[in-house]
Symmetry: C2
Subunit: 356 residues, 2 copies
């Protein structure tokens, strides 16, 4: 069968520390399940690269990457060296936009052995997917300043939604909900306050629902939706939101399941016209860099989503099981400090690699 070509971009900070374990675990799974994966490493899309070259990526980054099936991505950001908006808009957000990775898919699941910050919840109680629009909406580059430096200073940023952009993410979310036993979809809105784009979003949701009469649909304003994440997370199955709302919910969700340091994120171009990108949800965490303390599970779990995406279901299941078994065993000497253990990136990475 064909070879999966993966571009490896560790980025900054702990991205570079967890990436080796991600690659090793993918290699281990590939070996067991006889999958052919080829990795190629790239040093751009990092603040170090920026310091040397004055840009986050070379001019021909697109040519260099476009032929890959996937990008395996660590984390970007070193605010002490490069402002976050410069480093992110010059890398991750560029990939999402220019490779049209319009689906950002993130699981939110209470895993065995993980301490849940919510009272009285057990594994299985929380298990939903967040589908985030990943190319437009509130993350626009349109707007500007006027009367700069004076008391009249006014700053404008435009949220842009297109019918194409909204409909395709809604279709993806309805399809995902359809594939799940509960067939439930929740749409995040704020149409009572954000009076133009959000009523539009709501309207497209209602329109799309007509094609999926079997789906139980509900709509919550984003403020009360975040409250329900804390109060009754078990009601959710699939949640769809705009770029910003999806961003917020997909940090809050993992926080509610105690998995913020281990959650993965898939940035998908469903048509396969461009490479999709797989990354941990956590960032570059400059504060713990160089200490061998970073939790590699987010990176490894992102690799699991990569396998799943390309249809290697058996291998993906095995990798997820390996993560779950290590978590369940809860050995303090293996778990990293963020999970209450005394282990290192290496100890935890090796344990999962062996378990596969």
């Amino acid at each position: 069968s064909k070879t999966l070509r993966v571009a490896v971009i560790p980025g900054d900070g702990i991205g570079t520390e967890v990436m080796p374990w991600g690659v090793k675990c993918l290699q281990a799974a590939a070996k067991v399940f006889n999958i052919s994966i080829e990795f190629e490493h790239f040093d751009f899309a990092s603040c170090e690269y920026y310091q040397k070259h004055g840009d986050m990526m070379p001019a021909n980054w697109k040519e260099q990457l476009i032929s890959f099936d996937a990008i395996y991505f660590g984390a970007v950001g070193m605010p002490s060296l490069v402002p976050d908006d410069v480093s992110l808009w010059g890398s991750l957000l560029k990939f999402r936009r220019e490779f049209d990775q319009y689906v950002n898919l993130r699981p939110c699941r209470l895993m065995p052995g993980v301490k849940c910050p919510l009272a009285g919840k057990k594994p299985g109680d929380i298990d939903f997917w967040i589908v985030r629009e990943n190319t437009e909406g509130e993350y626009s580059s349109v707007g500007g300043k006027m009367f700069e430096g004076t008391d009249r200073e006014v700053v404008i940023q435009e949220t842009v939604m297109t019918r194409t952009g909204v409909d395709r993410i809604l279709r993806y979310a309805f399809e995902l909900a359809k594939s799940r036993p509960r067939k439930r979809l929740t749409s995040a809105t704020k149409s009572n306050g954000i009076s133009i784009t959000m009523p539009y979003w709501d309207g497209r949701v209602s329109e799309m629902h007509k094609n999926y009469p079997e789906i139980n649909l509900d709509k919550y304003h984003i403020d009360i939706l975040t409250a329900h994440f804390v109060g009754r997370p078990e009601i959710f199955d699939v949640i769809v939101g705009s770029n910003l709302f999806g961003d917020i919910l997909s940090d809050l969700g993992p926080a509610c399941t105690g998995t913020i340091a281990i959650a993965p994120s898939a940035n998908i171009n469903p048509e396969g016209k461009f490479p999709s990108l797989f990354e941990p949800v956590h960032g570059s965490a400059p504060d713990i860099v160089g200490k061998n303390l970073a939790n590699p599970i987010g990176m490894i779990w992102a690799g699991q989503m990569l396998l799943q995406h390309f249809g290697y279901t058996e291998a993906a299941d095995a990798l997820l099981k390996a993560i779950e078994r290590i978590l369940e065993r809860s050995e303090a000497s293996i778990l990293t400090p963020d999970m209450g253990g005394t282990g290192t990136t290496q100890a935890l990475g090796e344990a999962i690699e062996r378990e596969i």
Copy 2:
């Protein structure tokens, strides 16, 4: 001393059910502490009014209300009768904007006797204020649609920040932080993704910080900030955010302390040029209307903020103490169902009124 003139606007749904208890408790406190308060009731700013008159308020609403010291406001919204954006932009959001109530102040406090959804937290652990910008930002009325009804359809909404608007809310937040023992201020941002308005916000925060060197300032992106609400809410003291971020955080915060049904909100025009508005955080809750089940505490606590705002500190303290004692006593026959009790709006309202 002078008479406090309060305009009473119950609005819709449970707003009309909890308002009588808010007024009774204010009257009780006024009696004990010898404060002169005059109430005048208004039936506009409700969806029923809209159905009769085709508008949420009469043309001369501003004239009718401007001479009051405060507006005591229930809740607006009946989406089955009037779309939320119409009813809210025609009432609450109009008050905030046209009476220049640019500070939205909301306490977030773990109260005695209230079941906290977060594991292992006790009263005193969580106690912070959210300061929300209340007149501009993401809640703008500027934008529109193009190529309507076609595949090229594009919808734009502009976030508008002014130096005046940003600086005055930051100044209020820094001053509030200064008055608190911990002197800590957290600013909500998203400057890595929202690349024009949010870096501007950050810049103004840094600028304002120069006037308040004694304040411990930190900045969190809104996504990870919501995660910290769940993971380590005890670190927060005062939080300042834009209109949308403040909206989200001030629902999530009370959810984390189990007080979403009882939290209050003050919409303040600090200069006293226009009336300030005091309301519960909860909405009109059409699903439980007419059942005598609504929790009146949010309304009563909003009255407490009203007293506090006008300098009646003793009366305000007594009212808060009364609420706390009733909560602490945790009598099932008095607490409403949202708090796990079997009581009614009336039973709980009366208990607090008596306690004052």
